[in-house]
């Protein structure tokens, strides 16, 4: 028996009334071990105009590199306080911000470890189906060896790597089109 998956449709401009109940901009409550980071950025359209009605969903492993999911059968410590899911929307300036911990390394396609990364799903009016991208961290030897980043043309890899700010925290933007267009994945 084969049923094709239901077609995706846009979230439209009014998703807040349905999806705001599960907004989560702090993924790591007090007591969760790991290196705490804040990631902030903007979502920009093809004119460079801020997208004020975007929704970002985040999914990541804990600091040990373990996902809070039954299909992760690695012998690594789970943490009941760390769920790994985040959901943030953009404000009137197209900006978003969330706090989390840097995830640990998880296995890649050939068993080699992936560099620490956060999965991002992007939703908005004008997107008929979600876009999938990743946030990596700089100055990490693992990032240079990452098997998924290796699939991305070298000149575009920077769009997936968060930029440290002198005042602390990281900046990472979603550029939908044009100069610096964010890499999106088909997976």
């Amino acid at each position: 028996m084969h049923l094709p998956a239901t077609a995706s449709q846009t979230v439209g401009p009014y998703f807040a009334i349905g999806l705001d109940a599960l907004l989560r901009d702090d993924l790591a409550p007090t007591g969760v071990p790991g290196h705490r980071v804040t990631i902030a950025g903007r979502v920009l359209d093809g004119d460079g105009t801020p997208v004020t009605d975007a929704l970002l969903e985040l999914w990541q492993a804990n600091a040990e590199g373990r996902y809070a999911h039954p299909d992760d059968r690695q012998e690594r410590a789970a943490d009941p306080r760390f769920h790994g899911f985040g959901r943030v929307s953009t404000d009137a300036a197209g900006a978003f911000r969330f706090a989390t911990i840097v995830p640990g390394r998880v296995p890649g396609p050939d068993g080699a470890l992936q560099a620490p990364h956060i999965l991002v799903g992007v939703f908005m009016r004008g997107l008929l189906k979600q876009l999938v991208t990743r946030i990596y961290f700089p100055d990490d030897d693992a990032t240079a060896q990452d098997p998924v980043l290796a699939l991305v043309p070298i000149e575009r890899r920077g769009t997936l790597i968060a930029r440290p700010e002198p005042v602390g925290g990281f900046t990472w933007n979603v550029i939908l089109q044009g100069e610096g267009e964010t890499v999106f994945f088909d997976c």
Binding site: D53, H69, V132, L176
Partner: protein
């Protein structure tokens, strides 16, 4: 690593493309560079699992009981099953729904359509599917509304659905439509999917079985999330 069955990729025509010129908002919001195809890893093959705490207390599966009074409009019962592509149930999956009121107005600050707000209708709900993948909620039938995409553009009546299955890859946001709606053939969002059979699956069916005497008409809407390939790949 143990061998894992990867999630299926979409059959041609069964999902919309990002750029769909008839839907004007896609022009500046769809990627212009090709997506980078990648193998699925543990990251994509896991995803958030929600429990009853995510739904919370309250009549979240009855949108007519969230205020002191009853909302105006035609009360309906919407139910169905969440399945994977093999036809198996997706149990205990979070379903979030939102919609406009019977007059075609969303309770959202940006909705400026000149139609009345209903003080007794918020238009949002959420629930978990049961062990057989079934969900059910009570609401009122949403109205059509104008949306300025083109001259005399009207959205057909619809309810937005957001679903989490077992993996990040099974995440789905879609819209449920109503049978016989004359606005469907002219709606660029509904028509963004090339395969007419895929479009038809977005239209609910009127259902005597869930229609309740002296209470409400029943509509059925089954949702299929991505399933796994038959052959395991080494991960």
């Amino acid at each position: 690593m143990h061998p894992v069955r990867q999630y299926r990729r979409a059959q041609p025509g069964t999902q919309p493309e990002y750029l769909h010129p008839a839907y004007t908002s896609t022009a500046k919001r769809s990627p212009t560079r090709p997506l980078v195809r990648m193998p699925q890893t543990l990251s994509e093959m896991t995803g958030p699992i929600f429990g009853h705490d995510a739904v919370g207390a309250g009549p979240h599966d009855d949108l007519t009981k969230q205020h002191a009074g009853e909302p105006l409009g035609e009360r309906i019962v919407v139910s169905g099953r969440v399945l994977d592509e093999d036809g198996g149930p997706v149990p205990h999956a979070l379903v979030e729904v939102w919609q406009c009121n019977a007059a075609g107005r969303y309770r959202h600050v940006n909705d400026r359509h000149d139609a009345p707000i209903d003080p007794n209708f918020s238009g949002c709900g959420r629930m978990l599917t049961d062990a057989e993948g079934r969900y059910r909620f009570v609401t009122i039938k949403p109205g059509a509304y104008p949306w300025r995409n083109h001259h005399n553009a009207w959205r057909p009546a619809h309810i937005h659905f957001s679903l989490f299955g077992r993996a990040f890859l099974t995440r789905l946001v879609t819209q449920m439509y109503f049978p016989g709606d004359p606005l469907l053939p002219a709606d660029p969002i509904f028509n963004s999917t090339a395969d007419p059979r895929a479009r038809d699956r977005l239209v609910s069916t009127f259902d005597w079985e869930t229609t309740q005497p002296e209470f409400a008409l029943g509509y059925r809407f089954d949702i299929v999330l991505r399933g796994r390939d038959a052959t395991p790949a080494s991960a």
